[in-house]
């Protein structure tokens, strides 16, 4: 839009210059001077109006709501859309915690709303809650640690949903936190307990399983 204004301005400027030149070339004399003096205030008022239009468009670009035209310092909002159609408005800084979204914004693909097809609204709510806290309380290490501990007090299904979401959205710290939670849960379990926990079928023959146990018998105590 700005380029268009500048283009028009330049065009009109050149046009005026050309007119001046042609006037100059055509005839010198009183009528020439008269026309030139008329042109002068005309061009001034023209440029002034251009300036006003420019400023108006500049302020309206900064925010989408009419009320925000007054202040141009409110944060930029990004709209995210979950797989089940719900929309979430988040600050750009919060959305940028996701490297996937960050790249989309930088590549200018994030015009109206960003669809997140693999993540449901429940999971997206939780993800946004996490990112918001980590942006707000960035320097408060202790506070973040206790927030993370509380945040991970969720059921299995939600945890795995969060892992999938943070993997897709490329939020390293959330993926790390989720994976560490799972790792801590399963560290001391034996194979049978693991199979029960995750619903995994044992596809080893008794001989095959025995061979693996024989390789490192001390870990199976």
């Amino acid at each position: 839009m700005l380029y268009a204004i500048f283009g028009v301005q330049t065009f009109l400027q050149r046009d005026l210059e050309l007119r001046n030149l042609s006037l100059f070339n055509r005839r010198k004399g009183f009528s020439y001077l008269f026309q030139k003096s008329l042109l002068f205030p005309f061009s001034i008022s023209f440029f002034l109006s251009q300036g006003f239009i420019y400023l108006f468009l500049l302020s309206s670009r900064k925010s989408s709501s009419p009320a925000a035209i007054m202040s141009s310092s409110s944060p930029k909002m990004i709209t995210l859309q979950s797989s089940d159609g719900e929309t979430f408005e988040v600050e750009e800084a919060v959305a940028m915690e996701s490297r996937t979204i960050k790249h989309m914004i930088e590549d200018d693909c994030a015009n109206s709303s960003i669809p997140i097809p693999n993540v449901t609204s429940n999971t997206l709510t939780k993800v946004i809650e996490y990112c918001k806290k980590h942006v707000e309380a960035k320097s408060d290490e202790e506070g973040l640690k206790s927030f993370d501990a509380e945040f991970m007090k969720i059921d299995k299904d939600t945890l795995y949903d969060l892992l999938m979401a943070s993997n897709y959205l490329d939020i390293k710290s959330l993926l790390d936190l989720g994976c560490q939670t799972v790792a801590d849960k399963i560290k001391g379990k034996n194979p049978e307990e693991i199979r029960k926990e995750f619903g995994i079928k044992n596809d080893f023959t008794p001989e095959e399983e025995e061979e693996i146990r024989k390789e490192s018998p001390w870990v199976f105590d």
């Binding site: 449901t120 429940n122 999971t123 299995k156 299904d157 939600t158 795995y160 949903d161 892992l163 999938m164 993997n167 993926l175 790390d176 994976c179 560490q180 799972v182 790792a183 399963i186 560290k187 001391g188 034996n190 194979p191 693991i194 199979r195 926990e197 995750f198 619903g199 995994i200 079928k201 044992n202 596809d203 080893f204 399983e209 693996i212 146990r213 390789e215 490192s216 001390w218 870990v219 199976f220």
Partner: protein, 360 residues
């Protein structure tokens, strides 16, 4: 409707991310869960990922000699113990049956350790998986001993990895002295490669003799194995990939120093100690090949026999006057004894990280 994801639907890289935070003991157990988990845990991609992971803390492997019982043993001091946040450490870790008092430990490289007693008993060992691989015996070549006046002067080992193929190699350098001719015979070099499980023997003509000394700690770094020379101002490097030797330039000041090579914050360094009425420890770091800079100088200190290496926080391992292992804080000059303080003499220390690297 929110259909929860089950664990089985998680993609392989998320599962590997979870696994990389687990200790080797748990992972060995989980190999028995199902075929998919077994192949995932054994895959070279995962083994490398697990080794690199920041949660995989470095521990200190200490080879010490115990007076009671007259045997040497390996102890493992975890990161928390060295940081002072925990008092727990493993005093005697299970070692291969042939491990004895005369054993020398080289490495670790990627969690693998090379142990040798003499020419005939050499093995590669992964302390975390307890896997052992005996090396075939070195051929005592007839050629250098064809003259009866030639005697084996020294044999020194090196252990490292070819960074381009991730293959592990052991190098043995044997120097021979000819009594009649009063000259050094060209060194005999033997290189063992894990993938081929065999030795390759050749004579190296780069130097008339490679009189190098055994390193007290791991001196393998980024594809090269380093030794200090008999005259402590010389440093030699073995290019593991191309199997050739090089001499590294050292400053003139090294001529009057007494020191040993070790690693300091991912660089090669010489830990020099000047013993006199007062002892001081200087650490010269090789920032680029042949370019040495004195990074640390601590002194005067009392009661130090030698400097053994460094910890990641810049702390220095030292052997005190009564042969005990201690950790020296370069800023406060505080010395903290490590491990059992009674009747236990420290022989070697090395930084060790658990790994799943397989020998077979």
């Amino acid at each position: 409707m929110n259909e929860g994801t089950t664990f089985l639907e998680l993609p392989a890289d998320v599962v590997m991310h979870i696994f990389s935070k687990l200790p080797v003991k748990s992972l060995l157990r989980f190999k028995a869960v199902c075929k998919y988990w077994c192949s995932l845990i054994q895959s070279p991609t995962f083994v490398a990922k697990h080794l690199r992971h920041h949660k995989n803390q470095e521990n200190l492997l200490v080879h010490c000699y115990h007076v009671h019982g007259g045997a040497s043993a390996l102890s493992l001091f975890p990161d928390a113990y060295l940081a002072g946040t925990s008092l727990e450490y493993q005093d005697h870790i299970p070692t291969p049956t042939s491990f004895s008092t005369v054993s020398t430990v080289l490495g670790p490289v990627d969690g693998l350790v090379f142990i040798y007693n003499d020419h005939s008993l050499m093995l590669l060992w992964n302390p975390a998986t307890r896997e052992v691989k005996l090396l075939p015996p070195l051929v005592v070549s007839s050629l250098p001993l064809s003259s009866p006046s030639r005697t084996l002067y020294s044999h020194v080992f090196g252990f490292g990895k070819d960074p381009s193929t991730n293959d592990f190699k052991v190098v043995c350098v044997r120097d021979y002295w000819d009594d009649d001719l009063q000259v050094w015979y060209v060194p005999l070099v033997s290189v063992y490669t894990l993938s081929s499980h065999s030795w390759r023997q050749f004579r190296d003509y780069t130097f008339s003799s490679l009189r190098v000394v055994k390193s007290y700690t791991n001196t393998y770094l980024n594809g090269f194995y380093y030794w200090g020379g008999i005259s402590s101002c010389r440093v030699f490097a073995f290019d593991v990939r191309n199997e050739i030797f090089r001499e590294i330039r050292t400053p003139d000041t090294f001529k009057s120093m007494q020191g040993n090579l070790a690693l300091y914050n991912d660089s090669l360094a010489t830990f020099a100690y000047n013993r006199g009425t007062e002892t001081s420890v200087d650490v010269w770091v090789m920032e680029a090949e042949g370019c040495w800079i004195k990074k640390v100088s601590i002194g005067p200190l009392l009661n130090i026999r030698r400097a053994l290496g460094s910890w990641k926080t810049g702390f220095i391992f030292i052997e005190t006057g009564n042969m005990q292992l201690a950790l020296l804080n370069p800023d406060t000059k505080e010395i903290r004894h490590l491990g059992p303080r009674i009747n236990c003499y420290c022989l070697q220390v090395s930084r060790y990280k658990e790994s799943l690297v397989r020998l077979h």
